[in-house]
Amino acid sequence: MAIDTEQEVGPGAARTPAPSKRGLPGIGLLKGLGITLKHLLSRSITQQYPDEKPNLPARTRGVIALKEANCTVCYMCSRECPDWCIYIDAHKETHEPAGGGRGRSVKVLDRFAIDYALCMYCGICVEVCPFDALFWSPEFEYAEYDILEMTHEKERLEEWTYLVKPPPELEVGAEPPEEEVVAKAPDATPAQAPRAQAPAGPEAGTQAAAQPAPQPAAATAGAPEETAPARPAGERHEVEPEQETFDRVLQDELGKGTDRRVAEGRAKAAAIRAARKKAEG
């Protein structure tokens, strides 16, 4: 069975002699048989699902769950949803402060439902939610007999939050989570810490504590803002743009007839590059 030596490289291509490392003709075929036989004799990895619960990773994206207390009824999720499967009803209430003064109006969630017959599990709602009211839960057994029953209400969505598992240990050598970096970094400017906490503050501060502890993202609400300052603290040196390079490049660009704004931008980029190169030696 010398099939593998029968191939042509192209139409009319001269047959090159088989490279010597291939060994005997047909040895590859026998190796293939050996591999399948080895697999036949080793244990199969099938988990017989209904009898045996699957061994899912901790961050399995099974279904989107809702922590109702975190929801501020900002409607961002339902607006971003590509197939409009999130239904939110809310009304406004005015809370009179105990000590008198002006009442504060608060939005109260009446209905939060996700139609899983429409949902395509893109996760955009989870990403846009500013207070991590929405997150992924590993639950996956929520099939129904009727497509209408696939619209799950907030009570059900809340239940799924309890199923979230603690995150796995980080791998050796992995980058530590950002909040740890922020907390440990001694040279972090004091202004940054309050800023990071600020958005979670008044509205959701108490609830954040009630959150299932293992939600790292929930604990660091508003993380996107703090990434920018946090990273330079750990990795990069801030540098001042080099004045002479800036001037030189600016003159060059202006001489070439570039628009002044564009020229300034390019000059600044070049100046920072030069400064950084100097700093790194």
Partner: protein, 341 residues
């Protein structure tokens, strides 16, 4: 006529020895052949399910029949019976309906001559091996009928591929069998088996054995020669439009074909119902024969799990350029040795 033929060719058949009523013997033989032809393919099909699954680190069927899904194929059969029998509007209804039967019946008829011991067989035809090779060639007409009658381009391409493949690989197959027949000096299946008492012919005809296996794979359109049903190119070839029981017939004919060709190869090259030397007497003939058929069927499934599909032109070239000259040479050498030794 047939009675005369039966009487002439029957020497030592256990059914004939037990009963002497013509019709009773006929009924028993038909029952034996049908029973074998309808159950053995199920066993092979189940084996393929499980072996293929385990070679892919899966478990395969586990539920039907409680114990490791042994009843899976029976359940499948029940399912096929319940399915709607669709005949496409543009199809040729008669040809479309007849095709599965034409594909299946030759393989059932082939079980007539498979010997399980020197007395256990339905027929010991004088031309046994020739009969098997002749009758398997009919099956492809069923495939051509199915492909043409489906009024579907993919079906037609699949059928033409099957026919081209059959024409190309029937020749090396027959030539491989001829070398064995020359060595044994008889065409009868029992005779060929009995001629292997001293040694199996796989020892003297290893090349013919390999070529016979390759050609059987091609005739059965089994991987790596399954271009006629290449799902990625032509859906399911000639069977694309078939549903329900008719489709089940085609599947059954495929597995019956595996059993049949394994049995022929076992008789030709592996000593049929004879055990290996020294320990052959430990077990009765039918067990040896079944073990050999099972081993060859396992090998066919093993190849399916291992190798990717060839291209159509590679297939044709491989037969005409490699296999047929090789087998002609083999026949020449065999004939020379037969005369000299």
């Amino acid at each position: 006529m047939i009675a005369a033929l039966l009487a002439a060719s029957e020497t030592g058949n256990f059914i004939n020895d037990l009963f002497d009523s013509f019709w009773l013997v006929l009924a028993l033989k038909v029952a034996m052949v049908l029973g074998l032809a309808l159950t053995a393919p199920l066993a092979v099909g189940y084996m393929e399910h499980k072996v293929l699954a385990h070679m892919q680190h899966r478990l395969g069927p586990m539920y039907a029949g409680r114990f490791h899904g042994w009843a899976q194929l029976i359940a499948d059969g029940v399912k096929f019976i319940q399915k709607e029998d669709v005949i496409p509007k543009a199809a040729d209804p008669w040809v479309f309906t007849l095709a599965p039967a034409v594909a299946l019946v030759p393989y059932i008829a082939l079980f007539l001559v498979i010997p399980f011991d020197n007395t256990i067989f339905a027929e010991n035809l004088d031309v046994g091996i020739f009969y098997t090779l002749a009758i398997t060639a009919i099956s492809v007409i069923g495939v051509l009928m199915a492909g043409w009658a489906s009024a579907n381009k993919f079906s037609l391409i699949g059928a033409l591929r099957a026919a081209a493949q059959l024409i190309a690989y029937e020749l090396p197959m027959i030539l491989a069998a001829v070398a064995v027949v020359m060595q044994a000096g008889t065409l009868s299946m029992v005779g060929i088996t009995e001629a292997q008492h001293s040694h199996w012919y796989v020892l003297t005809q290893p090349v013919a054995f390999g070529v016979f296996l390759i050609a059987s794979l091609a005739e059965l359109t089994r991987p790596p020669f399954d271009m006629p049903v290449a799902d990625s190119e032509i859906i399911f070839g000639a069977y694309t439009e078939y549903t329900g029981l008719k489709f089940a017939f085609f599947l059954l004919s495929e597995y019956a074909g595996i059993v049949a060709f394994s049995a022929i190869a076992a008789v030709l090259f592996l000593g049929g119902y004879l055990g290996p030397p020294f320990i052959g007497g430990l077990l009765p003939g039918p067990i040896w024969m079944s073990a050999k058929v099972g081993a060859l069927a396992f090998f066919i499934v093993w190849l399916r799990a291992t190798y990717p599909r060839l291209r159509e032109d590679q297939l044709q070239r491989f037969s005409w350029v490699v296999l047929i000259p090789l087998m002609l040479l083999n026949i020449m050498v065999t004939a020379t040795l037969k005369v000299l030794v």
